[in-house]
């Protein structure tokens, strides 16, 4: 069935389409406005949960979500962008810091990590925040899929030494996975560099005042 479309019809159709786009966009604005505060609060809770999984909540008393600074070090923190560091304190005494470092050399792009380091330079915990590694192979770095990530606990720059901060295939201490060496190699490297950065900048990390006071990001 072929209809000859008159000019008037084309205009009506155009206006109708524009109107629908307007209605659709307005609906999206409303839904977005409604969900935004909830989403921000949810993300805050998720962040707090993951912070608490790398730094035990019994060890600090401050509001860790609001005690943040940004630092920048392309070589040691894996990104030329500034990254966030959350600080845990007991009253004013520094307890630990959680660094949101990036392992830039994953099998499939960046691996975003949260590395908890106590004041004496020992790892309190590591979690993978975001990654795109091969499902079933590289994703064993996630704490819910295997306990590999726990192998960092209590490690420091002296235990093991520089030579040990590698996967076993490279002569180090940490296990690789069957069929996936690149992913754990990237994570081990990033955690090691985070420790080096922490050692170099420990004083600075705990003395610089907050850059973000009340921010949901």
């Amino acid at each position: 069935m072929i209809k000859i479309v008159s000019q008037k019809n084309v205009f009506t159709a155009g206006w109708l389409l524009a109107l629908s786009a307007l209605v659709g966009t307005s609906l999206m604005v409303i839904v977005n406005g409604h969900s935004k505060p909830y989403i921000a609060e949810n993300e805050r809770q998720v962040l707090l949960r993951s912070l608490n999984s790398v730094i035990s909540p019994d060890t600090y008393t401050n509001n860790i979500l609001n005690d943040v600074l940004t630092v920048q070090d392309k070589e040691l923190l894996g990104s030329k962008e500034p990254i966030l560091v959350y600080r845990a304190r007991q009253d004013t005494k520094p307890i630990a810091a959680a660094l949101t470092v990036i392992a830039p050399n994953g099998y499939n792009g960046n691996i975003y990590l949260l590395v908890g380091i106590d004041f004496s330079g020992h790892i309190t915990g590591v979690r993978v925040v975001k990654h795109r590694e091969t499902p079933g192979l590289g994703d064993a770095i996630e704490s819910k899929r295997s306990n590999w990530i726990e192998s960092f606990s209590k490690k420091s720059l002296t235990n093991p030494g520089d030579a040990g901060w590698k996967v076993k295939r490279d002569g180090g201490e940490f296990d690789q996975f069957t069929g996936a060496t690149i992913t754990p190699r990237a994570v081990v490297g990033a955690v090691h560099k985070a420790l080096i950065y922490f050692k170099k900048n420990r004083k600075l990390i705990f003395t610089i005042p907050n850059v973000i006071s009340t921010n949901n990001k």
Binding site: K3, I39, V46, T134, P135, G136, T178
Partner: protein
């Protein structure tokens, strides 16, 4: 075109016009996400929900949609619904969102949804369109889960692994390890495995259809040689 009855809609959605096996629509999310049964289930549920909603909306406004601009209208509706689902899920069911959330944006790329809007919902009553959405979605989900099961068994040696991540702690009993001490076959998990798996499923469906067809013809008294049919 066959009559629009509830029974027809059900058989078409689940079998004779199955979006994944017959129409071959929505292959992009299908192949990307069917690496395990649970992932397949997640995308399947999300797709089904979207399909029911978009089909219903399209059926409701079908008399006001002008034919010249129907496709962009469908695109607007689908994009809005998917975005709204994603936002609302993130706001009110955040734990569920953390698991299913990665699947939701994939639904926009599923042409089965626009396909049903065009082929069915724009011509039929609300109730039939909603049922069509449910059944087409269910048919799509069943293929996803089946493909997921096949790939997971070959790839990891398990079925419903990580079910607890999506369904809660109780679901860890669902996980069945078929082969102990299995090293896995990476091929099944990577994209080529998805293509091969889908091809096998389609072949099995076609075989069943042919045997069925031959059998009904024999029953009707028309002799059909299976050998000739199966060339």
């Amino acid at each position: 075109m066959s009559d629009i009855t509830a029974k027809n809609i059900i058989t078409q959605g689940l079998w004779s016009k199955n979006q994944a096996l017959v129409a071959l629509l929505g292959l992009c999310p299908l192949l990307a996400v069917s690496s395990t049964a649970i992932n397949g289930l997640g995308l399947g549920i999300a797709t089904m929900a979207t399909l029911i909603i978009t089909n219903s909306i399209v059926a409701l406004i079908r008399n006001w949609i002008r034919t010249e601009i129907r496709i962009p209208m469908f695109v607007i509706i689908i994009a809005c619904v998917v975005t709204a689902i994603e936002l609302l899920m993130s706001a009110h069911f955040h734990d569920l969102y953390l698991i299913l959330g990665i699947f939701v944006p994939l639904i926009v790329t599923n042409c089965a949804i626009i396909g049903r809007a065009e082929a069915f919902a724009s011509k039929n009553k609300l109730i039939h369109s909603a049922l069509d959405g449910l059944m087409m979605g269910l048919g799509f989900m069943l293929v996803l889960v089946t493909l997921g099961i096949v790939r997971e068994i070959i790839g990891y040696g398990t079925v419903f692994g990580n079910a607890d991540l999506m369904l809660g702690e109780w679901a860890s009993v669902l996980t069945i390890t078929i082969f102990d001490d299995y090293n896995g076959l990476l091929f099944a998990i990577l994209p080529p495995g998805a293509f091969m798996g889908l091809a096998v499923l389609i072949a099995i469906k076609n075989k069943i259809d042919r045997v069925q067809e031959a059998r009904t013809k024999v029953l009707d008294g028309v002799p059909v040689s299976l050998e000739i049919k199966n060339i």
